[in-house]
Symmetry: C2
Subunit: 635 residues, 2 copies
């Protein structure tokens, strides 16, 4: 069994993307032992993955493969892209096997792979929706029917399986399908189909397959799919990012998952080709998303209609779409941008999104999911154990499974620490030195992080992310001695020295409660604040606040907060408390939606001071239903 | 040529709905001569109707009928419910003929009727989408394909044609189709299809056909379509109002046009049958709509997704859907509620909706339309000359054409005056007395209305609507003598006396500018006000406000307004002006969407006092594009 490697990263070979500044550290070299992620990874492994496998069986998703293989009669069950759920589950399970060997899980993986293998056509084609009488419709409706999207997820699962187990079994299936795709799609003058899939995904997976196999034609094919887009061959619409060529795009538009998957694929292509016009477009799209079209949670895609990005500043709270998968795609894209540039803003956004836009998507027991993630609710939006369109559940599972791979990178300078959590990592530097780092911390419970060089020595830099939320109050000690150089939030601070075992760096990131305000053009948030502490976004949930409606509260602008850790509550959380004014709608509103404003002097005040409790937004909707809000009135 | 009669009202016969308190006054007995409606009616007649007829030709909508009649080859063009656009245009043209005879328009009407007639099948079936190979699919997808919706619009057009011209030609077509529907739909045990159309419309049209023909089976069939709904036979979904039986509904849900069309049909059924459970449901739905789910404009259906009602208080401004057709349906429903109950709140809402939710849907030149009516915009939402789904344009045309019929009703008490505008009306009282009333007024320019009894005498009541927006400041003089009885806003004030020619009533409805606030649970409107004067809603449009962005303005709570009539501007409008504070986003927001709130002390103020100009919302987007907003920050 060979060593496994990190998701979306360099393979175990010496291959490195020529235009990426950083290289990932393989996920199986990173061992988390913290109170936040590791319990979730255990639930993901022990509860979520087996439960999802049962859903794949119960809902006929695996039967679709058996049917395509001629083992079963009957017709295709469910939605036309249901194959992708099996592939995403496989990918999640393989990353889990890479870090947590488990014969039972391996048995499920092998069983699923057998079904996939058997369903493949002799020519390499594989999509269980297009069998029997539908076989003649293959590749006839790329816009809507997600064939290459499914193929992309198979390829990603195969890469994961290969890295986790060194088995070529699923990789061979993926290569045969990828070869079929390369033969089928290309310039019209070569007699090929000159178009791309309506749902991006094939782009990044083909780059990954190129990295895994060294086969340059897969990279070329990914480039073709990027370049063929934007000329109206798919739909000409923003929904499919087909309204203009990628290199000319400025605003991030259309179906949010598709948009960020495309951007992830484009970033992969830049990493391999260095085409500057791709990088410039990526930066413009990132700028537009992060300064105009993103929730304070990191969630993206505000519109229900088309599961899409809205206009600038269109960020409704109760009616937020903010699909879990879109947040996942954002992390995938930002991870690639981080590898390209080594800029902390991408890691800051990954961290924000992981805690506050992805983790709300799964219940604390790991058995139910949000598709949409509203930032306010009346108590009716609840997680579900599964969906007809079940893209989100296995997508969340693969993020949690692959999480250790997001913690570190290496570069010529040395080691980059992107995320903080108790645990250790074995890192191979460019010069082949081996270093073992240990993090000791309660992060994100507090912001004190000790990093010890446990093994390895020599001259290299340790690049520590100083999160943008620190706002100038971070400090560092090396072996007890304070650094004198200023620390800039939103950058990596480089500590260059000759390290030896036992060296300790103490990073202090103060976590006062921050009242965060929003650009005044986001009309729902005007006059409101949200609460954050460290990287964690908070919300007021009715369950903690009996006796008043959380929607009626007004925070004083000089509110002071207490912070108390409750190990028994919601998996262990720090609770915020403060005194607020409860101002229910006055009695004059009864039976009215509008009224002349000068009547407001008549309001029958039932105003009073109450104590408001806020809990992490990621933990909401795990108790009895009731109103919840992230953005609170303040004055 | 017989006298024509009022849309959705008693026919020229002596028929009266037994459970309606009021009877309409036929639209051709009401002659408007005002500065608001009559110029619009002239444009509707002279510009809009001919232009729409050309669109019906150019887009193949009339060709679809020719094709069904075997006069043309080729396949159906456009959307499957395009027949309804022809029918709605016919209805609008017929109401226009009733008040404004015009041989050229009559020629177009007759030409269109010839095409419709020729397309009807021998068995009475008529829907040009279901011909040739699609003929076998008739009535197989009621949920989606709108066959009975189209049929309903044909019936309404036929009733209009019959009332306007006394010709039985189109009515015969409609009766044959209605007979075919009666034979086809009904209880399963009678071997019939036991379901209803996904898009309501057939219900009210069949009641109308019953009133027009006296054929009781049409009424029974309408009742069947109401009663069969709500048991999951269509979809089981709220979208189709099929989630529960009508009589059990509390909240107004789903596709907004369908919902209010259903309610209009149910109100018609109550008017004929007196079934109290229908009336109770109608009142609950009205209460929910008007106190939780309606824009300040009267617009309804806030969600793009499903063109639907949102949850309580879900009323986004820039992202308002507020389809023009939904507002039209609301007026149709409220008109029926008004006839049932004689309560001013229904007429108040009709007036609000006509000025502020329907009229914004058409440009001042009568040639382009809004489908959605946002209450804020960045300058990109513009009217279009036509749509692939062109339900709104001919719907607006039929409202404007039938408008005079909404002005008056009669009852045992006497004459009810619902709407105010310069003009005269010939009204036949229950005792067959004839009365000619004249209104002299600049309404809605100001609120002084003189009503003179020009002809007729005797004892009867004049019921004058005291609009709810008056807030207690209205006054009335009869022949110069002030009434001493108090006037209650939102009621009809009854003046009972023995009238004689020359008697004059002067109604004074003061129109101060009102700053209107919204229930605090509508999150976008918190801390904001809208401006109204009389029944007219205002907005701030960038075109009038060079030098600052209208989105940056903050109104003082004690703002004072000047009101000036500009006859040359936007068809003649009263302009509001006041001093406001312009507070652009401070420079600290550059490149940021969120920031810690305590930084707000650092804001670089470019605050200053500016003069804000506001214009009627109905007139927006008739000049150069730019930001617009109805709800303005206030503090």
């Amino acid at each position: 069994m060979s060593s496994s490697d990190q998701y979306l990263a360099v393979p175990v070979s010496t291959y490195a993307s020529p235009y990426a500044r950083l290289r990932p550290v393989p996920l199986d070299e990173v061992h988390l032992a913290d109170e936040f992620w590791e319990p979730r990874r255990t639930i993901n492994h022990k509860v979520t993955l087996p439960a999802q496998y049962e859903h794949l069986e119960d809902t006929g998703r695996l039967d679709n493969f058996r049917r395509a293989a001629g083992k079963l009669d009957g017709s295709f069950q469910g939605l036309y892209f249901n194959d992708s759920d099996v592939y995403k589950w496989l990918e999640a399970a393989c990353w889990t096997l890479a870090t947590n060997p488990d014969p039972e899980l391996e048995r499920m993986v092998n069983a699923a792979i057998s079904e996939v293998e058997a369903a493949q056509e002799p020519d390499g084609y594989l999509d269980t929706y297009f069998i029997d009488e539908k076989a003649s419709e293959r590749y006839t409706n790329l816009r809507d029917l997600h064939e290459l999207y499914c193929a992309g997820h198979l390829i990603q699962a195969a890469v994961a399986h290969h890295r986790a187990t060194a088995s070529e079994r699923l990789l061979d299936v993926a290569r045969r399908l990828a070869d079929h795709i390369c033969e089928t799609f290309g310039p019209e003058e070569e007699g090929k189909l000159e178009t791309a899939d309506g749902h991006e995904e094939i782009e990044m997976s083909l780059v990954e397959l190129f990295r895994e196999t060294g086969e340059r034609k897969y990279l070329k094919q990914a480039q073709f799919f990027l370049d063929v887009r934007g000329y109206g061959r798919i739909s000409g619409s923003e929904y499919h990012q087909d309204h203009k060529p990628f290199r000319e795009q400025d605003d991030i538009v259309g179906h949010a998952v598709r948009a960020v998957y495309l951007n992830a694929g484009a970033a992969d292509l830049y990493a391999e080709t260095g085409n500057e016009s791709i990088l410039r477009a990526l930066k413009r799209l990132w700028e537009n998303m992060t300064t105009k079209r993103m929730y304070v949670s990191g969630g993206i895609g505000s519109r229900y209609e088309g599961e899409a990005f809205g206009r600038d500043y269109e960020l409704p709270n109760e009616r937020a779409y903010a699909e879990s998968c879109a947040a996942i795609g954002s992390v995938m894209w930002n991870w690639r941008m981080l590898q390209l540039a080594g800029e902390a803003r991408y890691a800051d956004l990954m961290e924000l999104t992981l805690y506050n836009a992805i983790m709300p998507g799964i219940s604390l027991d790991g058995q139910s999911y949000f598709y949409q993630n509203p930032l306010a609710d009346d108590g009716t939006h609840r997680r579900k154990p599964w969906f007809g369109c079940a893209c989100c559940p296995p997508n969340i599972a693969r993020v949690i499974a692959s999480l250790p791979g997001y913690f570190y990178s290496t570069s010529e300078e040395g080691i980059w620490v992107h995320l903080y959590a108790e645990g250790e990592a074995n890192i191979t530097l460019y010069g082949n030195q081996s270093v073992r780092l240990r993090q000791r911390t309660s992060y994100p419970g507090d912001g004190d992080v000790e990093i010890e060089v446990e093994e390895g020595e020599g001259g290299f830099s340790l690049m520590l992310r100083i999160p943008s939320w620190c706002e100038g109050k971070a400090s560092i000690k090396v072996n007890g001695k304070p650094l004198e150089a200023p620390l800039y939030p939103g950058t990596y601070h480089e500590i260059r020295r000759t390290w030896k075992p036992g060296d300790k760096v103490r990073l202090h990131l103060p976590m006062p409660v921050r009242m965060v305000e929003c650009h005044p053009y986001v009309s729902e948030n005007e006059g409101r604040v949200s609460l954050m502490r460290g990287p964690i976004l908070y919300c007021a949930e009715q369950a903690d606040n009996p006796g008043f409606d959380v929607r009626d509260t007004v925070l004083p602008t000089d509110a002071r907060f207490s912070v108390d850790f409750h190990p028994e509550l919601l998996g262990g959380i720090s609770v915020l408390r403060t005194t607020v004014r409860s101002i229910p709608p006055d009695t004059g509103w009864k039976g009215h939606l509008y009224r002349t404003a000068n009547l407001r002097e008549n309001s029958q005040g039932e105003e009073r001071d109450v104590e408001l409790t806020a809990v992490p937004y990621y933990a909401w909707a795990n108790r009895e239903p009731g109103p919840m809000q992230v953005w609170m009135r303040s004055r």
